[in-house]
Symmetry: C4
């Protein structure tokens, strides 16, 4: 089975124990590589659970020692993994400076810093970034096709979505300022940024309710904003729906005229009538 | 009329009163079977209403005796029904261990337990599971085609939806942790799980408002999260829209070239021009 | 211009002033009929505005006399209109018992009742039903085609939507009961109906925030419900999107083989290849 | 490169420094014109940031002098720009009375008025309208195609969306009045407009929570409204999805038979088989 290897640019060593280690850590088409990936997913999830539990005051008080031990166990584990990654690639610096290389470092650094630097405990929450490491493994799973399709659909719509978001942003900004003038600091709209925050919560239909219009005019404007936001939600949905429908069409290319975009079930090229390859 | 019988694996008895009982209880293509289904729907809805009313303090105080009587009436009724089901199938154990067999038992058990075990009153709410019994009957109605189509559309999209949910979950987790650091326990974000609960309420545009960001940075992050959640709602909608559009195409297959995916109204194969079967 | 006349069954009188009156009141293809419709829309909107203003305490105090005068002006106007409608149709009783006949009566009755029956003032709000009279006129406008298309799309999807709503209702009921057990009356979930009300506000992403889970388990369940509701919103959207796309296809029928459902741009029948009529 | 010029009607001067100025200010197909546009975007965003910051009490107190200086810098800058625009077009009055001409004036006027008219400080917030000037430049960017497509899709659906909004408005009005009667001023529903404001917040799934039903009947009605609003959100989404899918088809017309609506990738007319122009 040939799988996608996003780490090719780090350089696959040729022969020796380094190639074997590389195959286990960076690839997933051997039983050992697959097992490593599964173990890594487990370790990531468990270590993240540790971070989460440590933030709950009661748990931290009662099971503090266990959490501390688990934390160090995972820190050492990820340190060994990080070192192994550095060891087995041909260009360690290129790996260390890559996005996932940084994440791998950030996954262990805070624990060491909290040890040596007083007051660095707040940095411990950075360890939640370990979750991002899941993305590396997700790329290598059976789900890669769906993942790619959603990504392509979003990529193909990025300009329409940008246009949409910029218009929404302007509307929200203008209406937020209007509400700042109408309601004023007396009703909690203390500044334009605060009013824009409220306008976003109204247009996106979130409606926290910490700020609410209290004047009749303010309520009328709020009503229009809510209807507006509720209605224009249809626009991004329509954009992405149309894009995904498009993506469903196959990517086969006619051998005779190079036309693409044929329906999944088509057997003949719709441009020149030649039989399509693989039918 | 041939209807779908999800209970076939329990074994249809051959001849005698047991077959007649089976036809009434498990099938719905005879007048008696249809009447039984309707009566059962009525009994389920009434008994669930009893459970709901018993939870309202004023009603429980004023009409407690009536509710108690009604409750026992339905308990005895469902007990008789459960016994009949056990009696008339060829493999009673297989039925008892099936999903609906368990639900049928759970529908009557709490009432008996509340009688014998002191303090088991809280279990009475388990009786609300009787509602699930509706699903058994829903399967047998005229709506089976639509039910199946929606189910197939969701099933066909399950991998895309899983990818989507896992990405959403990671985003919510990371941003929840960020808010925990930014706002902190002083503003109600007492732990990471609490912050994640808040992040979910923001991204899904629910916005209860029991927790709200109070710092400027927190409000800025919240604004981005609201826009994000509002915008990416378009993704699952697009996935399912495309899938349902696809499901609308008929599943007929051309007898000559085995091509499928023809439009509902097509009479000739779009691949080879042969007349489609059944037109 | 031939317009749709939903009142045909009331009987169009033949000749005389009654036919002329009928043409003005019930039809809209003459200048007089068109003017009558526009005047009626204006009168309805103004009279509804009167009702709305009368509900605002400050306005009622300061302009009570003006509102009272306006109210009686519209009441007399609508009474004359109602009498004219009764007069000019051939089957007055059939009209009086029709849906719009009832609405027309309810539009004037409360004002007279408030005059004679003491304490009937609360009934005055029934006059807001005058708004429903707008629907009669909407039916006769240029928008009839879009109105019909949306209606057909909703009608064609009604079974899928019913399935969807019944599943949503069951989920909401079961999860509401779970929350009633988990949170209990101490946290505001005083009865199952209250808990179901909360569950609906969570699943539909409304989130008023008057009731909120306070236990960790309750928050976890709430998180799942919010994600669930946010995600399954995609289902009705997908149903209706697919239906509207379908409705966009033309309703032309092939003269040779009677096949329908051709694309808007098609010039030849896709079933038999005969040229389509009107191309 | 030929770009769209929305200002053509102001008259392009022929020759001289005025034509050169016109090319820089109103067009963007020369390097100087492009640079001017980018500088203008920067100036607009910075000046809007100034307005926003001035509304935050702490910032206004600590950096008031800087903000005042920046404000006058931008006011003078935009004044020069406005004068240049007036100077270089052939019909200055036509420009001054156009939409963007008014916005350009409103972008500088409040600063001067605040100087001469005491108490005109509240007008300073009008300067936020400078944001609208972004739209002029957006029109001239690479995004013009997507912008046009979204606009066409919304325009083509405007009648369906109007029908939809008018029905939603009536439903919201009727149910708001019902809630006013059911809940009454005692529970915060002090008038019909207030109740309609609440109804809109419920139907659009915003749910601020400043007003909530407190009676059982009110909660039941609210539940129905939430489900209704959540479900019918599917309607505008379906309308726009179908429209965008339609817009994706190319607008090329067959030279032989004048048939349109061909797929983007089609090379031969689907009606008569003639090769399409431009392929």
């Amino acid at each position: 089975m040939k799988t996608y290897d996003p780490h090719q640019r780090f350089g696959r060593p040729e022969g020796g124990w380094r190639e074997k280690l590389y195959a286990i850590i960076f690839e997933s088409d051997t039983p050992a590589g697959m097992a490593f990936d599964l173990a890594l997913i487990g370790a990531i999830l468990l270590s993240v659970t540790t971070v989460v539990l440590a933030s709950v005051a009661e748990v931290a008080r009662d099971y503090g020692d266990w959490l501390f031990a688990a934390e160090w166990f995972f820190t050492v584990l990820f340190t060994i993994e990080y070192a192994s990654r550095l060891l087995c690639v041909r260009h360690p610096l290129r790996y260390a400076r890559s996005f996932f290389g940084m994440i791998d470092l950030l996954a262990v650094l805070p624990s060491y810093m909290a040890l040596f630097v007083p007051g660095a405990h707040v940095l411990l929450n950075v360890r939640i970034l370990r979750l991002l490491r899941m993305f590396r493994i997700l790329k290598l799973t059976l789900y890669i096709e769906e993942y790619g399709m959603l990504g392509r659909a979003l990529l193909a719509s990025r300009r329409k979505i940008l246009i949409f978001l910029s218009v929404v942003f302007m509307v929200v900004f203008l209406l937020g300022t209007v509400m700042y003038v109408v309601e004023g600091p007396a009703h909690g709209f203390t500044s334009i940024p605060t009013a824009v925050y409220w306008a976003i919560s109204a247009v996106t239909t979130v409606g926290f309710g910490d700020l609410v219009p209290k004047t009749d005019l303010g309520r009328a404007i709020a009503s229009i904003m809510m209807l507006l936001g509720w209605g224009i939600l249809a626009v991004p949905t329509g954009i992405i729906s149309a894009e995904i429908s498009q993506q469903r069409r196959s990517h086969r290319t006619c051998a005779a005229c190079l036309a693409g975009d044929h329906e999944q079930s088509a057997r003949f090229c719709k441009s020149c009538g030649t039989r399509l390859p693989g039918t």
